[in-house]
Amino acid sequence: MKSNVDGANLGESLKGKTGRRYWKSLEQLAGTPEFQKWVDDEFPHRSTLLKLDRRELLKFMGAGMMLAGLAASGCRKLPEHRVVPFIAGPEDYVPGKPVYYASIATMGGYATGVRVKTHEGRPIKLDGNPNHPASLGSLDARTQAQVLDLYDPDRLRMPTYKGDPAAWSEFFAKAGAKLEELAPNGGSGVVLVTQMVGSPTLHSQIQNFLFRHPAAQWVQYEAASRRNMIEGAAMALSPVTESHFRFDLAKVVVSLDSNVMMEGPAAARYQRDIMAGRDLGSGRTEMNRVYAVECAPTTLGVIADHRMPLRASLIPAFTRALAARLGVAGIGAAPAPAGVDENWLAAMARDLAANRGASVVVTGDHQPGTVHALVHAINEHLGNFGTTVVHTNPVLPKPTAEITALGTAVEQMKAGQVQMVLVLGGNPVYDSPADIDFKGGLDNVGFTAHLSMHDDETSGACQWRLPLSHFLEAWGDGRAFDGTASIQQPTILPLYDSKSEIEFFEALIGGAREGMEIVQDYWRGAMGEAGFDVRWHTALGDGVIAGTQLPAVQSQVLQGLGQAIAQMDDDVASGYEVVIQPDPTVFDGRFANNGWLQELPKPISNLTWDNSAQMNHDTALKLGVEIDKKYGFIPADREADMVHITVDGRTVEAAVYVNHGMADGVVLLHLGYGRTRGGKVLLPLRNKPEDHGGGFDAYRLFRSGKNPWMVVNGARFEMAGKTYPLANSQFHNTIDMTKVDSDREILEETTLSAFLSAEPVEHHENPTLYDEDMASGVIGKSNTSVEDMGWNDPNQYQWAMTIDLTLCTGCNACVVACQSENNIPTVGKYQVQRGREMHWIRIDRYYAGDGIGSEWPVNDPVIRLQPVTCMQCENAPCEPVCPVAATVHSKEGLNQMVYNRCVGTRYCSNNCPYKVRRFNFLNYGNHDDVPVKNLLNNPDVTVRGRGVMEKCTYCVQRINHARIEAKKRGDKIKDGEVTTACMDACPSRAIVFGNKSDETSRVSKLLHDKRSYKLLDHHLNTRPRTVYLSRVTNPNQEIEA
């Protein structure tokens, strides 16, 4: 702890200019009372740990509030404040201005480039790095949310031995001695357990370690690994390679139960490429066509032109049938599996064949290796190899997780052949397959240590609990999906007495180098001395190391693969089948203590805080879920029935959630919940259990066998006779495109052909009897015309936004971006159940079908998404009703919300037809007892207190900065100079923001697009500034779409 504060020694060693900056910034940070407060106290929350209740919890999550802020009313004395200047100012640092760094976030061994925004030395936001292939400037929800983990008060703060505080030096002394002792027999009995290792430096260190201790074992394990993909490649390809997709070149995309836009190391990039192929914004007249055959609705399925729900266990048969239709060698004749429409399949096959070399067929990581192999064969047959499907050597030194090796290691532990286990990161006790008793193994070992950010299940089972540095605190490196290497540079000194894996290994082998030296030394070796410093600094600046992308390699499908696969008979489910997947938000459980991700509505299901047993309506009925007498179906807004699911004698108790659009007989479980240790957010609280879900632990059904992701047969189900409250941010709302709701004109859609043939519609003003003056919040104005309102005064900036419904996949990246940019608090499960979540932007999910009448349930519904945030109505209903003029209209056409003027009558929210205003029913934002959280706040945005209304204002803080800079330059804000957080984050570039009085700006072009329409404007004449571009699909004419 103390070593953080006088970072002098480290500061000296970091003589690089970047290095010095951190040191200074920390010093400044050290001046802040928050920092002092917990520097003085080793365990600042000793007290709160004892008396923890819901309010406490809320304080632990989300952003903090400077009390003086909103509480300060007209006649109140402000408290005396201190200002603390530097000792010596860093030369290139301007107080009050943010500084940006390029770095990487690593998951599953693969790196994604991030741009870290730091304010006064505090990292406060993660954006994508435009130079990085896996990001291209946008960033998925999970990665963005990791900035919250940095300030997680539940992080391990210092090494402990059997619960007692200890020093790193002690640990390394003990570990060193142990290694010495085991040295004679080559370090046999030493087991290293790591997550997927992608970092070249770390890998070289591990190799180095294994060189010194040849008999030591290194087991690499992560639950969500791409095992089946590698297996498929091994089965099909020579040489064995890793394949990447060029979706930007693909005209036809067929997804066989995969979601390339949500899973895998290139998810964000693939989303960008696929959606770029569907973007009609820039005058393009052609779209790619997406077919999705899937067991559960995915973001890819939602945007697909043709979607077919199909059991996961039928996908192999379906793939074979497809291969047969395409004439892949050796398959022969293969019938389409039961329930599949022959014409559908045939039409799709024809479509593929017609687009040789310009199509991609992909399958999901949870599908068995045979399917991956056959998909390779199909792609090669379609001539996609070398065009849309690119092969490189595997990026990771060890491309796959070693479940079997883990199993044998555990056996040895139990047999007492292991003396020392070092677990670096990860949480195997929690996330190893149920039939591998990792804890039992650890209990049998003399020396166990766990390097981890949290005191989680594995730490609990180890003697040494060692704090791991957050990636924003440490030096490192990593490779992207295509091999491009990047340097991970820290943006703040470690908040606690923690070490990164790299520093850990350095110390373990008795080295004395600091993180930066270690990484630099490695790359000096890799790049060569010549001009290293220059290349190093370029690499730091760009966030990528030029020319490190892996070269494409030629790879063919093995002869006779077709026959081989044709022979295989895959097992098909006789009853219900269980599909297990990493959770869309908390993933494999590593983000379970992250409030943002816990409260982030999961794509399509919109569940928060829990996982569930998802199935379609029929399956739920067959399992014995009670239908609601009143509604005639199973409503989403009542307590969910619980079901017991038993596999191999292990049972989990899960709440049933009806997820419309899933395939019959499939039960989908998500990993990552049911955690028992590792933080306050992931645990149900003692006194207020309803406040956290916590969910159930699906790992109990996760087996080390051939394909852990599916339990095709042998799962038993019985109703538990209990119910469980699920917190759903949105019920099953439906829109019948044909009936009553149709004239609400909420969603508009068309097909590509119709769109191209359609005449451009001229945009007419709505006729109105409504007194225009009512639209201006400006007090004392009277009889002012539309122009005087400045609504469209061309001399002012007129901000506007378009949201392209064709491109929105519902990935939620925008929601987290907004939360992080605007200090939006999280509220906890109970408050979400009450309908009080605070997200400023929400993604509405509609099912086509009459939500009220008897037509429920729909098992294959049309699913439509619509991001909704404040529309910035020119004629805003919220404005005239506010008694204190806290929400008024600006000259630039924004609907301003003045938090400190708000008295909280909630009238504006009642009168808002879009219901985009959010009210602080409780003091969600405040956590003065967790000051470390305040470091995360964006200083450019007021933190709202209790009793205040808040909403989106187009990231007005960014507009203001741009305006001021432009004024100082003496010109106007250029198009693209101001972006909103949601726009930055969106991987499919669905959101465009800009100045509509500038005719040349992108947004004003889109506003005049044929597709543009204004939500509810037709009824209410609200004149929204946020305009939607109606959804365009590109259905295959041969299929009845």
Binding site: F731, R744, V903, Y907, P913, N920
Partner: protein, 477 residues
Amino acid sequence: MPNKETFDERILTGEQSNAIIDEAIGGVVLDQKRHMHPEIKLPMGLKASPWMVLLMIGFLFVNVLLLAITALVFTGIGIWGNNQPVGWGFDIINFVWWIGIGHAGTLISAILLLLRQQWRNSINRFAEAMTIFAVLCAGMFPLLHTGRPWVAYWLFPYPNVMGLWPQFRSPLIWDVFAVSTYLTVSLLFWYVGLIPDFATLRDRAKKRAAQIVFGILSMGWRGSAKHWHRYMHASIILAGLSAPLVLSVHSIVSLDFAMSIVPGWNVTIFPPYFVAGAVYAGFAMVILFAIPLRKWYHLQDYITMKHFDWMSKVMLATGLIVCYGYAMEWFYAWYSGTAVEQSLIFNKMHLFDAPYSWAYWLLLLCNFAIPQGLWFPKLRRNFKYLFTVCLVISVGMWLERFVIIPMSLTRDYLPSSFGYYSPTIWDFAMFAGTIGFFVFMMMLFVRFLPMITIFEIKELKHHLDHDKHGHAEEVKA
């Protein structure tokens, strides 16, 4: 209580003289014993009077109210059931309901005075008292429903260092003025009306303390012709002032909804519809108190069956206006032809798919079906029926606000934002607390102030005697 009393057209019965009237009404205040019976047997051999019991219950709930308010101010609106999309729930329901209760008082005292309705004399005093207490209850809610009550003073226009004024186009600001004016005028009117009675009490009081207190309150009233002259002018002017208030206050309250664009709120008929509803509820409450009070304090001679007859007829009339309003809602839905309006009615009425339809049908039962009995004189004079009907109407009027306020909010324009509203224990605590406060104040009023205008009854008796002896009625100055 007796079910039937012999009905005659008289509004003042029994052998009367000024002394008898003074004793019958003034005595209630001056003589503590009058509050000690009828005697009620309580468990454990305790004895109490209805007055004591009601006072105690009232006091209990006043404390509940204080507790609820403290919890609210220290924790936040979050302890209530309000949410997205339902920004207003019990808070505004109760506000509107209480404001409504108050209306009968003003109507009786102002409009009936201007119309020279003699039957108002016996009921105006405690009806006006109810008005004031009801407005006090109502006033709490707009204040406390704000997220930050400590800055609620921003709703008042005053020169401030922020250089800001309130938003005068917001109906909530109109409320501020409407309600505060209403309270002020009602208080004045009430007090002025009390002055001559204070004098009577001062003169009849035995205890020195009472004499002094009433002496100060009566402001040196000596009943001289000049006093009476001034007094008549004052009361006519005040009546003139408050007559429009009867209509304006609830019209403005109704504009909180009519001015918005929420389907189910945005209805042009609201002002008259709300006023009628207010009078409806108001008279119900008057009868609820009149029936027991006249019994307990032996005031049958002054509040006769005729009074109840009149009041029942007023209720019947206003009740029908309210029901007309309900009918209009169906018409709108059909005539507007817009989805939102139609699904709104659907959402109100559909027995199965609409979560709150129970409230709507219960409302029709309470406000339409049951009160229709008032057409029949026999039922109008049946106290059991009358008392129940008045209870039912009070419930019904509360339900009406429930149906209008939260129900409309749960289903507005975007189906994605459809929500539910479920009140919490604190919502009920606040509501029960205000009722307790109301009862408590009424009991104090009964104890310390004459619940019927003594001098007006005397005046009335004078007139009646004259009429009896065939003299022409002399007109007062």
